[in-house]
């Protein structure tokens, strides 16, 4: 039975009560307790730094050459916090409510409320670290709006908020490394968890430079390893982002929750050809000022600038007048797909819509004219002034667009299309962020807990830092307080020897297949199955087909994959093969989960279940639960259900009209 261990009492008091009653570890004992942190993005770096500060002995691992490169760095738009600095009606409750509603009522109330409660502390902490957030002329912090909300609660640093927050956490981590509290293992990949008497006692990691396997002891293991969007091959994730660490935990016994909940981000640069290796996001913040449209006429091949205003369909503004271009991501993505499928798409592929800045440029130009007290200004001059303002706000994003497409977005509307961006599903965790595997915790995107079936923009950074800075330092103490009685286990213990051997055997098996097809080609094929049949729209038939196609692909992979190079050396192809093998298994589980969930909610859209207007149609009577899957061997899973109980919020049909 799943026990989420949600504290009793009223929603507002649960976290305060928990903190007041959880067990503590005294400083002398902390020094004796070792914690392994895998992954150094916002969740991992903040957790490792904070636990180091508290006095635990921490070992941190990342596969990149430096902890600063984790993919949190690529987050562009911002981080939410219920500060209400704008006096526009924000509060802890509003942020909590927006997040639950945005997630289409498939997230846990207690976790989300806690997230909302600590959101303000995150901003304070980051400011104290010297994170250079955007500021107003008065010297105070600036805010902007994001999708799915009607207040301005998003803090940002130009289009590089993730970078600045990660550098803040990274610097905190480097400080702990210099103080000797954290030992850093970069270019290392976790390949298994070592269990002794039902408790996690360490990991097996591979040194990616030498290829050697290493055994590391820990009283607890924190998986801060991000999401699994790369199962689709093409996504906005970094090339190295992978599910391997989480999957190893799953195979060892950690339940995997809501794997099918994938976020498809509406504003990405469209695919340009078969060579495409990844997709690039254009920040959601662009929807603050940009207007999204397609031609009113199907198959209109005119240049966008030649299409007059009255022959354009601003379909988000038309369908959702209250939120307009700022509807949540799942809604915006589906609306774009709907228009393209109906034959209104633009560009050579016809799989794109326009994101247009001309109105914003003119509006900002006029504001500049009045700010500067100019008179007799021509339209051209207004546009020049407007472009300068847009450049200051979004310049780096516009430059990126131009480099990738060769088109100038100040002159021609950008072409955008939805792409895989984030995975709401992940390892099942209880209120303390502990997985069903004792001693193994999952933080940040790697867990499932806070975003339900759809994540709101600027909430990923918030969750990663909330888990690392403000949640795990308390909840891990509650577990480690009892571990002071267990002695450190030698890495010569049979459990370490056996686990290492299993890892080593798998690598040898992979290497010895010596087939004909590259790892990359398998990954691409998996991605295509997933995108076509488990992507933005899903149905029972497609999912059933996908499951058997993936099973066949798995067989083919294990009999025909070709991995050049040796085992005991730097071998990126071998690293990739290990990851793709796990993605294939995950893909099957995602389809199984999507097939099981016979309703539409958030990012999970089953074509069979929609309202007459084409919106997601939930089935609260039968599916208001977290689907947590236990691994039971090759292609076999057992479903456990954690019912979602809403004490405070009354679930309703989401309405952004």
């Amino acid at each position: 039975m799943l026990d989420a261990k949600i504290p009793a009492g009223s929603l507002d008091n649960k976290w305060t009560d928990y903190k007041g009653h959880c067990k503590l570890v005294n400083p002398a004992n902390k020094r004796k307790l070792e914690v392994i942190v895998v992954g150094t993005g916002l969740a991992g770096a903040s957790a490792a730094a904070t636990l180091g500060e508290l006095g635990y002995k921490v070992k941190a691992f990342c596969f990149q050459d430096s902890p600063r490169r984790a993919h949190s760095i690529a987050a562009q738009g911002g981080i939410n916090a219920a500060k209400n600095y704008q006096n526009d009606g924000d509060s802890v409750f509003r942020l909590f409510y927006d997040t639950i509603k945005g997630g289409d009522y498939r997230a846990r109330e207690a976790n989300v409320h806690r997230l909302s409660e600590v959101s303000g502390n995150i901003i304070d902490q980051c400011v104290a670290q010297g994170v250079p957030f955007a500021r107003e002329y008065g010297g105070l912090l600036s805010n902007r709006s994001f999708g799915g909300t009607q207040v301005q609660r998003t803090f940002y640093a130009a289009g590089q908020t993730g970078q600045q927050l990660l550098i803040g956490a990274y610097q905190g981590l480097e400080r702990q490394i210099s103080l000797g509290n954290v030992t850093m293992y970069s270019r290392h990949e976790m390949l298994d968890i070592v269990m002794v008497d039902g408790k996690a006692q360490g990991i097996i990691a591979r040194d990616l430079i030498t290829g050697k396997l290493e055994r590391h002891f820990g009283h607890a293991v924190l998986l801060c390893t991000g999401g699994y969007g790369n199962v689709f091959y093409l996504s906005t994730n970094a090339m190295g982002s992978n599910v391997t660490a989480a999957w190893k935990a799953h195979v060892k016994g950690a339940a995997f929750a809501n794997p099918c909940f994938t976020q498809i981000h509406p504003t990405c640069i469209p695919v340009s050809g078969d060579h495409q290796s990844k997709l690039t996001l254009m920040s959601e913040s662009l929807r603050n000022d940009g207007r999204i449209w397609v031609p009113l006429k199907q198959g209109d091949n005119r240049k966008p600038t030649d299409i007059p205003e009255e022959e354009r369909d601003y379909y988000l503004e038309r369908r959702y007048p209250a939120f307009g271009n700022l509807v949540p991501r799942d809604v915006a993505s589906r609306a774009a797909k709907e228009r393209c499928d109906a034959g209104y798409g633009v560009g050579t592929s016809k799989q794109a819509v326009y994101l247009d800045y001309s109105a914003a440029i003119e509006r900002y130009g006029k504001i500049e004219v009045s700010k500067k007290g100019l008179s007799n200004v021509s339209k051209e001059e207004i546009i020049v002034l407007g472009k300068e303002v847009v450049k200051e706000k979004y310049g780096n994003l516009f430059d990126m667009y131009q480099k990738i497409t060769g088109e100038n977005p100040y002159e021609i509307p950008m072409r955008i299309y939805p792409a895989v961006h984030y995975t709401m599903g992940g390892l099942w965790v209880d209120y303390e962020l502990q997985t069903t595997l004792k001693g193994v915790y999952a933080l940040g995107e790697a867990n499932f807990s806070d975003h339900g079936a759809n994540r709101l923009g600027a909430s990923a950074l918030m969750q990663g830092l909330a888990d690392g800075y403000f949640v795990i330092p308390y909840t891990i103490g509650n577990y480690l307080a009892d571990e002071i009685y267990s002695k450190s286990i030698s890495t010569d213990h049979p459990a370490f020897v056996e686990t290492e051997k299993a890892v080593s055997d798998r690598i040898s098996t992979l290497k010895s297949i010596n087939g004909k097809q590259s790892v990359e080609s398998f990954h691409k094929r998996l991605g295509k199955i997933m995108w076509d049949k488990c992507g933005m729209a899903r149905n029972a038939q497609g999912l059933t087909e996908a499951i058997s196609e993936i099973q066949a692909l798995k067989k083919e992979f294990w009999s025909d994959v070709k991995i050049p190079g040796g085992i005991n050396e730097m071998n990126p192809e071998l690293d990739k093969a290990n990851r793709v093998a796990d993605f294939i298994e995950l893909g099957e589980l995602m389809c199984k989960d999507a097939l099981n969930r016979q309703e539409s909610c958030g990012g999970h859209f089953r074509e069979e279940y929609q309202t007459p207007e084409g919106e997601a149609l939930r089935d609260d009577a039968n599916f208001m639960y977290v689907a947590a899957w236990d691994y039971e061997g090759n292609s076999n899973w057992n479903l456990q259900k954690e019912p979602l109980i809403y004490d405070v919020i009354k679930p309703s049909q989401r309405n952004y009209k």
Binding site: T50, E53, D65, S66, R68, R69, H71, I73, A74, K83, Y85, I123, D124, Q125, C126, V127, A128, Q129, G130, P132, F133, A134, R135, E136, Y137, G138, G139, L140, L141, A157, A158, Q160, G162, Q163, Q164, Q171, G172, E174, I177, S186, I209, T236, A238, M239, S272, H275, S277, T280, M400, K403, G406, Y469, S518, S521, P564, G565, E569, M570, P572, E573
Partner: protein
Amino acid sequence: MEHKNINLTLKVWRQQSTVSKGEFVSYQVKEISQEMSFLEMFDVLNEQLILEDKEPIAFDHDCREGICGMCSMYIDGKPHGPWQANTTCQLHMRAFNDGDTITVEPWRAQAFPVLKDLVVDRTSFDRIIQAGGYVSVNTGNAVDGNSLPINKNDADASFAAAMCIGCGACVAACKNSSAMLFLSAKVSHLALLPQGDPERQSRVVNMVAQMDKEGFGACTNTGACEATCPKEISLSNIARLNQEYLLASFTASN
């Protein structure tokens, strides 16, 4: 956008490990779409090598959107290639013409030893940060974020310095392999903010000492670093670093 396919010759540095001797090896790549990124062109070449039973070329890359700082190719004598303010992953094949020969090397610097082919070890940068590139504040009850207003110009200048992605192009571009632009970006980021003020003296002294210890060269103000920096980190940060260092050397007690 019009585009075409091009054929190219690549001269790529191959080196099995840090201790082995390297050499240039030539490869032909055909039918490369000009819409590809430079790294996607390398993906195509690597697929080709794998199918020919040869070892693919190892190179560092991750986000492929110009922000993680992992990619690091020295292309035709310029870190990150011909485009201004750009990273290798954002370099697109529109920059090249049919029939071009492109030379690709790893970063070359004593403090960045080659690990394999085009992959180098940049942990020296992490150790420079460990020497003081932070504000010593533990996680906890920090004061309200708006309790300390910061002049917008200072905040913007601090942000401009903080945009450094730690890729190491500045070192690779410098004839002395100096890390001064990298170091000065961090010193400026923190020195321009009140939060960084209490430790400004020890920070600059310790970080410079660590840079010297790592084997980076001295700065001769040539400006190749600024010209090549993908994030356009300004040379004026080096001036600020020198000022901070001088002041700290005269007045610091440590």
